[in-house]
Amino acid sequence: MDFGLSRRDLALKEEIREFARAELPSGWRRSTLIDGECRDFEFEMDMSGKLARRGWLVMSWPEEYGGRGASLQEQTVYEMEIGYWGIPGAWMGISGTQWVGPCLIMFGTREQREKYLPLIAAGDRDGVWCTCYSEPNAGSDFANLQTRAVKDGDDYVVNGQKVWTSAAHRARWCWLAARTDAGGAKKHHGISILIVDMRSPGVTVSPILNYYGRHHFNEVFFDNVRVPASNLVGEENKGWYLLMQALAFERRSTAPTTYGHFRSLLEALAEYAAHTQYEGQLLSRNSAVRAGLADLAIDLEVLKLFAFQMAWRISQGQIPVYESSRNKVMSDDVMRRVAITGADLLGIYSQVDPDSYWAQLNGTIQGAYLGFPGQAIAAGTAEIEKSIIARFGLGLPRSY
């Protein structure tokens, strides 16, 4: 057992701290959760470029694709710091660095890797991706997807509708799950992954505003969109396995960033409690406040350990079966608890608009409070994740 960070990890933390101090506006705190991505896309892309030039953006990729073969442990430390400092631009449209790139490295053709990976690795605007999974009738029952891709000569012709597509309005490329064979024996047979140029004729993106009026997800319509057959990733009709891998990558990356972001929120809350008078005493003297903050600190400690444990498992060549779902559930719990405890601490100020002059802590708590239910649904609801844990972690019968 060894729970220490290496000298290298500690140096990386320090470098990112200095980077954040130099590159972010003073007093910068993101209220990312309600926005999904950074509202200022120009700034986000600017930061992507800077992260790329520091060699961090895709650090765990092999050198030939613009990475430096960093360990997953180091990648985890990096993600925690990105979350802690609220550095935007690390994900290239959420999916680019986190699962499109890693999946292309595993399953892509040489041409695909050479074409797409350098754009992501450079933090280029043309390296921004969206992921088209969910459909009106394929949410938790993801395998029920109906978007069709029919082979026609050297192309696939894609027709269908996707929803809740984050960053589609900014993305240059789409990582699309579509049905290439409708006659499969099971719903998850006959699914394929295609790369779609978002500028293709027939692609329409229309915004869906979330309940706070913020725009980060969309509907995407495909109307006779022609996609070159060479854009198929992996084998035709066998996309389900690839999707499970992509989802595992996605669920892995939640825990480190959530840890970082919410650890910084916790520290801000502790600071707030230490300096805020309420009913004649400092909030920090109130025993309920103290117990609440302690429990958050403990939950965050758990999340941190889960993140490192999973990185370690993967680095041992093992495939984390239930851990990615466990980490997703724990991340969602941490978000919910920090948001609610934080809002309780702010008291009546918890209702102030995050952008208002009156907002405490730059509106981060309101951002978290408004945002956590949406984040908890993304990439798998708690109910789905717990069913996965029961099935693969505990060997109980399939229940869905």
């Binding site: 220490g4 117990a291 302690a294 758990v302 370690w312 724990m330 029961a390 019968p397």
Partner: protein, 377 residues
Amino acid sequence: MDFSFTEEQDMLRSLAREFLTNECPSSSVREADEYEEGYDPRLWRRMAELGWMGLVLPEEYGGMNAGFMDLVVLMEEMGRSMVPGPFFSTVALCALPILEYGRSEQKAEFLPEIARGEEIWTMALAESSGGWRASEVCLHAELRDTHYVLQGHKLFVTDAHVADHLLVAGRAADGEEPEHGITLLLVDAGTPGMEIEPIRTIGGDRQFRVSFRGVTIPQDRVLGMAGNGWDIIDFILQRAAVLKSAEISGACQAVLDMTCAYAKERIQFDRPIGSFQAIQHKLADMMIDVDAVRYLLYQAAWGINVGSPASLQISAAKARANEAYQRICIEAVTTHGAIGYTRDHDIGLYYRRVKAAQFAAGHTDLHREVVVGELGL
């Protein structure tokens, strides 16, 4: 980071598991109550033969010179099997501080007896409030010439009926801070003026009030420095909190295993209840809790093992273990339904032990305070 155990630790775990499965099945846990001691002394002997009491003691005292992490592995297994007896009192509460703070003649006098399983120890710290805070230590320990005279009561002292010696926290003088002026004394059981009276508990363990009425203890029986006893208690609290968390971790895993097995075999509505999501999601929550306790525990134990104990990590582990143990046991009993509420089922044995485990080495609120202190509050 490295989340793996050494080969020796894996071996220790499997040996302990095998031994305890055979020698300490739940039936014998139930029967333990029938012994005057509250445990089977033959099992204690056999554990001593395996070298468990001296596991982390140096060879010169008859120990096996293993590390703290090895002791954690062993205690997880003991927790899994709910091993009755004074192991925790003797090893976690007393042997470790004697090894760390004892003078060489004290170590030579006491540690080999502990390692051989010949002598049993316990610590007398808590008083009427039951708290592990310095302010709660009121027992008078007044120095008169060459002797301390002890006057007062200690409560919730585990295994006092079988202890050969007690580590007693007394207050020699009122300091400015409650932590000042506390002295730890190595007291022989049965010293005139001592009296024990049982406090019956729901956990099946043995706890006592120990009264001191003018008990005189020679000055050379001070552990560490007179008046600086709180430093030692802090040392004990940290290690004991981790070791109690290890017991809890092992117990939680056992309860999860048992409940999961039951959910697979219990048929209602023509299918195993484990196929219902309402049950599955409870079990998934339990599994997450078990993992949380386990990794917090290992992290805290690692800190102690490498000589840099971190109070945040230790207190996070114990606070979370306390809460998770209770939650897991309650979910386990209710998942079992009425059978889980019966005397004959093992689940209840674990549930009944929750409270004792929570209050040993600091209850949740105490550890939350440590954690919040680490946040600068």
